[in-house]
């Protein structure tokens, strides 16, 4: 997920090569696994719709110069969400040379409705029915040869996760040709008359436009007079007496039904397995909550107790505290007599003793355990089920349960989760979800630090922290939902089957995310440490600490040393949180102060990278507005909590 974000931003454009194969299909049908098989390049694969939110490119292993493009899943055309619009744009821009439609072999009828739309674009097309093994287990038998004959395009059955059918796919893609008439439907006369008004080469785009696709409309309006187009549509709708989109949809559905009737047979399905029953339990109106509590407890135990407690203790106290750091300090001081360089490397704000020790001894074990457990959850298919359980909660925030996905993904990395808000239907919902992510969703590193630090104080400390942060996020979301104009869209989501996670995929994703962590976070930790070191050496740090005293010491009630943590917290809040963790470990923070400090820093904007992504996704104005709201609010809430806790006397002893 996080690596995904990095690669999206750094992706070089590979256009201009010999040709492009575009993988298109419904969400969660295995496009990204196929992409990996065809190119040898790994992109994040998970068991929920919306994992891929951007277009990815890679060079085919079997044919030099052929670019394979992985796209976000589309429910259908007309495109509505931002990721669907990106696919529509890609198909209409003429970049695609061959379309490989990936469909779920268990849902041939549904796949065929999209096949017809893609065939109408007139590009070479292949239909890949993936997860053929699951279809077989579910009693679905497909006569692929007959289907290929009727459609006039190659039809292949694959099991991408096992690599079955990939060689055949690569070979077929290399010689694919435009559909030979089979997949073209003769629509009712008013539709055909409207299409006849357009140049023949624009028939495919014209059908998308008649169906209401905004990208197709924009593409046509670049070539034809908008008034002429409006007249053609009005005439067709008048003749039909109903929206053209409905007529097109009905004709495609009937066509798909006819094909399925002669090419697909369904045996009686086998009895439901354990995973199926567990899937039902996880969305049950009563049992769904205990299942959620059990999942949360497992995450807490694995990350908070094992990762933040035992592994951090082992690395920080034993390995770094007793062996590596004393040895390094001794050797550096012996080899480099310069006090300045010594301090820069192994001093109080030393690159090793602070930057690398924070990154490797404190955060690395936490993010490792979190990434591992998170990858398991992603692959299991449990995450979309949270949308069902939490729908009512998000209703109050002007969102629907689908927003649970970016929120939960935000626990891994808020930056990537901000990209995932694209799966939400409306601009308003994306703004609301982005605001909540920026405000109060702690990322994996910070969550681990919080759990480790507050868990060592008392369960009440964790509850106060969680309650205050959740309360603030809820209150701000509730208010924003009433201030931002627009209506909430109702929940409609596909639930993938619960599956046993594949160890190889879980480990690959975990390692990939750890690589991202080491490449992106460690340099920032070092930069932050160097910044503090320079401030300290120039004498600016004491001045800043004195300047921040009324805020940090007066309002928040924290020791002056906490100012440095907040200072680097502007760069990355988990870096700041780690500084507070160390202060607490050194006995400089009482229980009350620890809770206040953690609440304040949790409400910071996560990191510089997340601000850049908010600028990219929502624009500079909204990013500036969110930043202007979040930081003052964090200090306001922290101060209020400090005074409330002092009033009650909690944790001050």
């Amino acid at each position: 997920m996080s690596c995904h974000a990095a690669s999206v931003l750094d992706e070089p454009r590979l256009g201009g090569l010999l040709g492009e194969i575009v993988l298109v299909g419904h969400p969660n049908v295995g496009k990204s696994v196929l992409f990996g098989r065809l190119t040898g390049r790994y992109v994040t694969v998970s068991n929920y719709p919306g994992t891929t939110v951007d277009v990815f490119r890679g060079v085919a292993r079997s044919a030099d110069g052929v670019v394979v493009i992985d796209t976000p899943g589309v429910v259908g055309f007309p495109a509505r969400s931002e990721d669907e619009l990106a696919v529509s744009r890609l198909l209409l821009d003429g970049e695609a040379r061959t379309i490989v439609q990936v469909g779920d072999a268990k849902g041939v009828r549904r796949a065929l409705q999209l096949t017809v739309q893609l065939a109408e674009l007139g590009l070479p097309l292949l239909l890949v029915l993936n997860m053929a093994d699951e279809a077989e287990s579910a009693g679905v038998h497909i006569d692929a040869e007959r289907l290929a004959e009727l459609l006039g395009i190659p039809v292949l059955l694959t099991v991408a996760t096992a690599g079955t059918g990939i060689d055949e796919l690569a070979a077929a893609a290399a010689v694919a040709a435009a559909p030979k008439g089979g997949a073209h439907i003769a629509y009712p006369d008013p539709v055909e008359t409207a299409l006849d008004e357009l140049p023949p080469t624009l028939r495919g785009a014209g059908l998308l436009w008649l169906g209401g696709d905004e990208e197709a409309q924009a593409a046509l309006e670049r070539q034809l007079d908008p008034e002429f187009l409006a007249g053609v549509r009005a005439h067709a709708e008048q003749a039909l007496g109903e929206p053209v989109a409905d007529v097109l949809q009905r004709a495609r559905a009937a066509y798909a039904d006819d094909l399925v009737a002669v090419t697909v047979s369904q045996e009686r399905a086998s009895r439901r397995g354990v995973l199926d029953r567990l899937g039902r339990l996880s969305t049950h109106r009563i049992w769904g909550w205990p299942v959620l509590a059990a999942v949360l407890f497992c995450v807490y135990w694995f990350v908070g107790v094992l990762g933040a407690g035992k592994l951090v203790g082992l690395l920080e106290n034993s390995l770094f505290g007793r062996h590596i750091n004393p040895w390094l300090v001794r050797e550096v001081t012996r080899l480099i007599p310069s006090g300045f360089v010594d301090d820069l490397l192994v001093g109080k704000y030393g690159l090793w003793t602070m930057g690398m020790t924070y990154a490797l001894a404190l955060i690395l074990p936490i993010v490792t355990t979190f990434f591992l457990v998170f990858s398991i959850l992603e692959d299991s298919g449990y995450l979309p089920r949270l949308a069902v359980v939490s729908n009512r909660l998000f209703n109050a925030l002007g969102l629907n349960g689908k927003a649970a996905l970016p929120m939960v993904l935000g626990l891994g990395c808020v930056t990537m989760a901000t990209l995932t808000t694209r799966i939400l239907e409306t601009r308003r919902e994306r703004v609301l979800a982005t605001l909540m992510l920026a405000l109060g969703i702690p990322c994996s590193a910070q969550l681990g630090v919080v759990l480790g630090m507050l868990g060592s104080i008392s369960p009440a400390a964790t509850l106060i922290w969680g309650g205050v942060v959740a309360g603030v996020v809820f209150a701000v979301g509730w208010l924003a939902a009433r201030l931002i104009p627009g209506e909430r869209s109702p929940l409609l989501i596909e639930l993938p089957p619960l599956r046993a996670p594949r160890p190889v995929n879980v480990l690959t994703k975990t390692l990939m995310r750890l690589e991202w962590y080491l490449r992106e976070v460690v340099p920032l930790f070092l930069a932050g440490t160097a910044f503090l070191f320079l401030l300290d050496k120039t004498g600016a740090l004491p001045a800043i600490i004195t300047g921040m005293k009324p805020l940090v010491t007066g309002w928040l009630g924290l020791p002056p040393a906490a100012s440095t943590a907040f200072l680097v917290g502007f760069l990355r809040r988990d870096f700041g949180a780690t500084g507070l963790f160390v202060l607490h470990a050194q006995g400089q923070l009482s229980a009350e102060q620890a809770v206040v400090a953690m609440v304040t820093i949790t409400l910071f904007i996560p990191c510089v990278a997340s601000i850049l992504i908010i600028v990219r996704e929502r624009g500079a104005k909204q990013a500036a507005a969110m930043t202007a709201i979040v930081f003052p609010l964090a200090f306001l809430v922290g101060g209020l909590l400090n005074h409330a806790l002092l009033f009650t006397g909690w944790g001050t002893g």
Binding site: Q113, R272, R285, V389, L492, L495
Partner: protein
């Protein structure tokens, strides 16, 4: 509601499957079956109180029974009991966006769907795909009288 007209169907509290409590072979051959007021779900094996055999279960059922009887002919998907199959009659009252989405999933007039759950949201299965949507939408989906079976 074909079968439900003659026998009160039982809904499994664990998996939501609706079944005929008199059709269980296991109960008839069980030595303790005579005085037992529990029936086992044929899908998951969970023991469910049969309101027709137990005074307490009957009393509880009176308080918890949903207002609309499952035996009445259903008109909208939200009223279809979990475990039944419903034939979609119309989607015309749905907002365009959601209608398009459901049609793309193959939920179209004439299609038979399995109703898996109705609370907190409606979950249906169509062609091995499970879709969850709010009851605000399922109340706008017209269906013919549901039949037992499906899941």
């Amino acid at each position: 509601m074909s079968a439900a007209a003659t026998t009160e169907l039982v809904t499994c509290a664990l998996c939501g499957h609706r079944f005929d409590p008199t059709a269980s072979d296991a109960c008839a051959s069980c030595p303790l079956g005579r005085g037992c007021s529990l029936v086992c779900c044929p899908e998951c094996g969970y023991s469910v109180p049969d309101a027709s055999r137990s005074a307490f279960a009957g009393l509880a059922a009176r308080f918890t029974r949903r207002r609309r009887s499952a035996a009445l002919p259903m008109r909208v998907l939200a009223e279809a009991p979990p475990g039944c199959q419903a034939t979609i009659e119309t989607l015309e009252h749905l907002p365009a966006r959601q209608r398009e989405q459901l049609l793309a999933y193959g939920v179209a007039p004439g299609r038979v769907v399995d109703v898996l759950q109705t609370r907190p949201v409606t979950i249906i299965r169509v062609e091995h795909a499970e879709l969850a949507f709010e009851n605000a939408l399922s109340r706008l989906i017209g269906v013919a009288a549901p039949t037992e079976g499906g899941s």
